[in-house]
Symmetry: C2
Subunit: 340 residues, 2 copies
Amino acid sequence: MTTFVTLTQEEASQLSHEILTRYGYSQPHAAAITRNIVAVQRDEGHSHGLYRLISCVDTLRRGGVSPDAVPRIEDTAPSVVRADANNGCSLLAFEQARPLLIDKARTNGIALLAINNSFHFSALWPEVESLAEEGLVALAMTPSHAFVAPAGGSRPLLGTNPLAFSWPRPGRDPFTFDFATSMVARGEIELHRRAGKSIPDNWAVGEDGLSTTDPEEALKGAMLTFGAYKGSALSMMIELLAGPLIGDVLGHETRPATTENSGRPWHGELLIAIDPHKLLGDTMHYHLEHAETLFEEVLSQGARLPSQRRYEARMRSKETGINIPEALYKELTMLRDTSL
Amino acid sequence: MTTFVTLTQEEASQLSHEILTRYGYSQPHAAAITRNIVAVQRDEGHSHGLYRLISCVDTLRRGGVSPDAVPRIEDTAPSVVRADANNGCSLLAFEQARPLLIDKARTNGIALLAINNSFHFSALWPEVESLAEEGLVALAMTPSHAFVAPAGGSRPLLGTNPLAFSWPRPGRDPFTFDFATSMVARGEIELHRRAGKSIPDNWAVGEDGLSTTDPEEALKGAMLTFGAYKGSALSMMIELLAGPLIGDVLGHETRPATTENSGRPWHGELLIAIDPHKLLGDTMHYHLEHAETLFEEVLSQGARLPSQRRYEARMRSKETGINIPEALYKELTMLRDTSL
């Protein structure tokens, strides 16, 4: 059983900000990181919430991130923005490039943002959702940490390569999804190993390239993508778009923060924003309402929308505060309070 | 056993052109349709090759398509082209809008093409591949025929919603994929029914919304997407992007050509083209070569690239001619030769 500690949004933000600045992050970086992880924690996204403060500090201690980098925002082409994070965290680069991305999408109909040379650890949905809140349709993707074999392969090559999408809904929370293209998170396999449980046969292959239900074998071998060869193709697309297309690394060249002698999960990110108003003009309202019929039909079948649980968690957090596991809370306050 | 008839590319094209014009398609439509389906047949894509001539004629006879529609190409915004197919086939609209899409991608870095009011039956890969041959990275998607339930649902709502992607490879065939987001084609379930075989439990649900291995139950119920809730989310994204975003219909509003009193598989299509040169400038060549390391690693594991079989078929067809099943060949020549 996990015991939770409840904080107000202000308390959670203050805790995050104090830890980040204490270990050397500049005010702007600490603020951008705090906004992201508190938003995720508020939605009960524990894996990408305040927990990530630990790796933010760890990566900094290992020299894996510049704590006071000033992103360079470049107007590359009429529909292209480039944000060089200058070895800093991706989140500040995104925030600073965001107004120009929005402006270009509104002017030209569609625009692309490439974030390069960045320390990247965050969930993508807060970024696409922040664009949907401006009335734009948004996509985001990153290549990340090669734990995954391509369909038919036997060795880690592809990242866990998340894809996030957000669609503006008039008067409602956006329709948003954000999923890794790996079948499960690597941590899930680790949890099964610790519990001595077998894993489903479509999660991973052993070193021999054959499907395995043994978590030990799986951790020595490679994870699989979701959706067999289709998921594998999609994952390769993400590698290409958020890698070579924007002049950045492939998944097998990113460096997990957990490896010895290495401290930076370092890779690019690609975002695409589309302005429905530029495409549809005065008919936009009609077509956005039309899209609602799709969501209504999903719900009327008793199915759920992808972001539904998260929005329910957000409502709860607004009413009762932000919940974080007590053990994590203790670890974070220790990080804040012990002498350096 | 299927017996095949071998035709030269010219013979296959002539057969297609004669059939299409005989039943009333204008020269430009007949030419555009022929180019697409002969290219697919050449790659041994039997389901979307010359076989589709039958439904092209059938749809026309039912009054489901304008055989001589002149597409209207509209320069909607700096990075947006709109092609109103004017109730004609999507393929001519694509061909006529393509130069402006390419031009906009090269000028602005990224551009979007929306095809509306179109009779649509074709594989998407020839379109994205034709953009990759111009050095662009391309995506295409359509919502199509609601046979698929959302994850957790029980009734057909989503289309089979294909997604196609192509990436230019210097001196090589592009890296291309084109897959339906349904687990399998509906025809696969029909084939199992006819053969009295059960289907895997992740292909479909019965009318009760529960997973079924009985093809009869599956055909009464709904197909499933590939990749469970992730595939379902992706399919919904395609519905939204190639539907309401471009002012067109959702999957459950498209009309299959096989239904009585209806003769048009009618829906929109969205394409996105990105110019790597505009993003990368002089470093483009380096980064495209870098992308090759991903493909090499896939192959070195003994895995295949998504389009590999198709390119091998293309090589065979170049050497020995285009193969079509004899029964289909007879049906097509009859369509060409019987008096109207």
